[in-house]
């Protein structure tokens, strides 16, 4: 018994490193030779570790109890216990979920708003009638240098200068011409001009909704035209179909070439096509034809912020306008859905054949 206790004391000192080096070496020797001693050492080590751990936790608990005494548990309990109101409880337990949901809704609203805004074509419609007064002025500068007398003459009776200009095309042999309503809107007098001459016309029909106007040449100098080489296309044009237009953005006829780029016009306007054709002020009212020489529309504007987005009134609205004119007054009227004379011709021949049927519209406005 006595020996056991001594051994116990030595083991503890050994484990705590309190033995002198000699004692330590001697004990190691003993431990190596005697498995029972070795077992006791291991057991005591485990025990001491458990005891140390136990002591740590006991101390920790004491500390925590001390800290706990500083907390006003009663009032906290009052504050935090399950709230009788379901709403408050729901809010408390789902606070983060509600916050996340709210932020998602906010995000969705913001993105929806921006998508909506993006869907709107940012550009605005710009009618392609030409402000002649301005153009002429910039051009007259050039002319004045070369032919000063002529410009002086013109300058003397400035009210004879056209204010606006556009394009138009014949829809019958006896001088009915289609153009855009916005070209002739508010006009005091209108003249048209083709390769053969300039004629006075009267507006006989306007359709502001479809932006179509029909003019009638009212001039003795006018000789009836031969049969119209083009026809009006019956169906709708498909996306990507090649189209071309003739018009008067300047004093000479100008050919523009492109394709149908969208079935609808600005902001989903179903009255018009969107076509990719470069146009300029003055092209308004010009015919838009496909490769076979069928009129598919009338150029009437472009989007001012997008390049190559030109709009054309669909051909079926031309027919509607035509039907509004007394039919017996139209001789050699444009045919509808028939085979055009331009079919199969090369573009230069097509233009050559039809250029006499495309007119420059000159609008005079004395105000």
């Amino acid at each position: 018994m006595r020996q056991d206790l001594e051994l116990e004391a030595i083991i503890e000192d050994y484990l705590n490193g309190k033995l002198t080096p000699e004692e330590h070496a001697a004990f190691e020797q003993l431990r190596n030779n005697d498995p029972i001693v070795d077992h006791k050492v291991v057991a005591h080590k485990v025990f001491l570790e458990s005891m140390a751990q136990y002591a740590n936790i006991v101390k920790l608990k004491e500390q925590m109890d001390a800290a706990h005494a500083h907390i006003d548990v009663a009032s906290l309990t009052e504050e935090l216990k399950p709230h009788p109101s379901k709403l408050v409880r729901l809010w408390r337990s789902n606070r983060s979920a509600v916050a996340i949901a709210a932020s998602f809704i906010l995000l969705a609203m913001v993105s929806l708003y921006s998508i909506q805004n993006n869907n709107k074509q940012a550009g605005t419609f710009e009618a392609m009638s030409q402000d002649m007064a301005q153009i002429k002025r910039s051009q007259s500068g050039l002319i004045r240098d070369i032919k000063s007398i002529k410009t002086d003459n013109k300058g003397a009776k400035g009210e004879n200068r056209p204010r606006f200009g556009g394009s138009g095309f014949a829809i019958s042999g006896n001088g009915y011409i289609v153009t855009n309503y916005h070209v002739v809107r508010g006009a005091d007098s209108i003249h048209v001009q083709n390769g053969k001459g300039s004629y006075k016309v009267q507006s006989v029909y306007t359709d502001p909704v479809n932006d179509i106007a029909i003019l009638k040449i009212n001039d003795k100098a006018f000789e009836n035209l031969a049969s119209l080489p083009y026809t009006i296309k019956k169906g709708a044009s498909s996306l990507g179909e090649s189209v071309f237009t003739l018009g008067f953005p300047k004093d000479d006829i100008v050919l523009g070439d492109g394709y149908v780029s969208s079935k609808n016009g600005i902001n989903g306007d179903t009255l018009a096509y969107q076509v990719a054709i470069p146009v300029n002020p003055g092209n308004s009212g010009g015919p838009l034809l496909d490769n076979s020489g069928n009129i598919v529309g009338i150029i009437n504007g472009k989007e001012n912020k997008t390049d190559g987005a030109t709009f054309a009134v669909k051909s079926k609205y031309i027919m509607e306008a035509l039907n509004a004119i007394p039919q017996d007054s139209l001789s050699k009227r444009v045919s509808y859905g028939k085979k055009s004379l331009l079919r199969g011709l090369k573009r230069n021949k097509q233009v050559e054949k039809m250029q006499d049927y495309v007119f420059m519209i000159k609008v005079y406005n004395n105000n």
Partner: protein, 188 residues
């Protein structure tokens, strides 16, 4: 949480370093900071404030041991860790008392702490064994052992306290107690 945790919330780093350095102040701060969170959880899940205290203290012990063992990495917020451990301990207690454990009302994110809990349960078993062994040791052995091993008193102090005639007698007495305690501890 809208509660007054925010008054002087110690940073997670402060807490870890404080515990590693046995700082009493750090432990107090830690304790006071996160108790309301655990209290709220327990109160809203079939418990009272005493349950909250037990669960919370056990949680702090888990955290303490983990930090002391050097295996604690601040991969998540301390708050989340404490909440997760408390939640796990409380769920286990609820299951033990066969109270219903469905519809746990949660207030925080939850981490998976199974590994830590297994380690903790082992240590807890050791703790309970030691406690039981000490309880059954009887006086004066219990006090002598506690004074020596837990309160780190010298044999001289113990000798005076218990009125032994000399330190050797006290020492002998201590080793007798120790032998009995070890026997009890390893038997349990």
């Amino acid at each position: 949480m809208s509660i007054k945790i925010s008054s002087s919330l110690p940073t997670d780093r402060e807490v870890v370093l404080g515990i590693l350095n046995d700082s009493v102040e750090a432990l107090n701060k830690l304790y006071v900071s996160y108790f309301p969170m655990v209290l709220q959880f327990i109160l809203n899940n079939n418990g009272d404030e005493d349950d909250a205290k037990d669960v919370y203290q056990e949680t702090i012990i888990v955290l303490y041991n983990k930090i002391k063992s050097g295996s604690f990495e601040l991969s998540s917020k301390l708050k989340t860790y404490i909440y997760s451990v408390s939640r796990r301990i409380w769920l286990k207690k609820l299951a033990q008392h066969s109270k219903k454990t469905s519809n746990i009302a949660d207030f925080e994110d939850v981490l998976i702490v199974e590994e830590d809990m297994e380690q903790h349960e082992q240590k807890d078993m050791q703790f309970d064994k030691m406690k039981e062994a000490l309880e059954s040791l009887g006086e004066p052995c219990k006090t002598i052992i506690e004074d020596f091993y837990i309160n780190n008193q010298s044999m001289q102090d113990i000798c005076e306290k218990f009125g032994y005639t000399n330190a050797d007698n006290a020492k002998t007495q201590k080793y007798k107690c120790l032998q009995r305690l070890k026997k009890l501890f390893f038997q349990l």
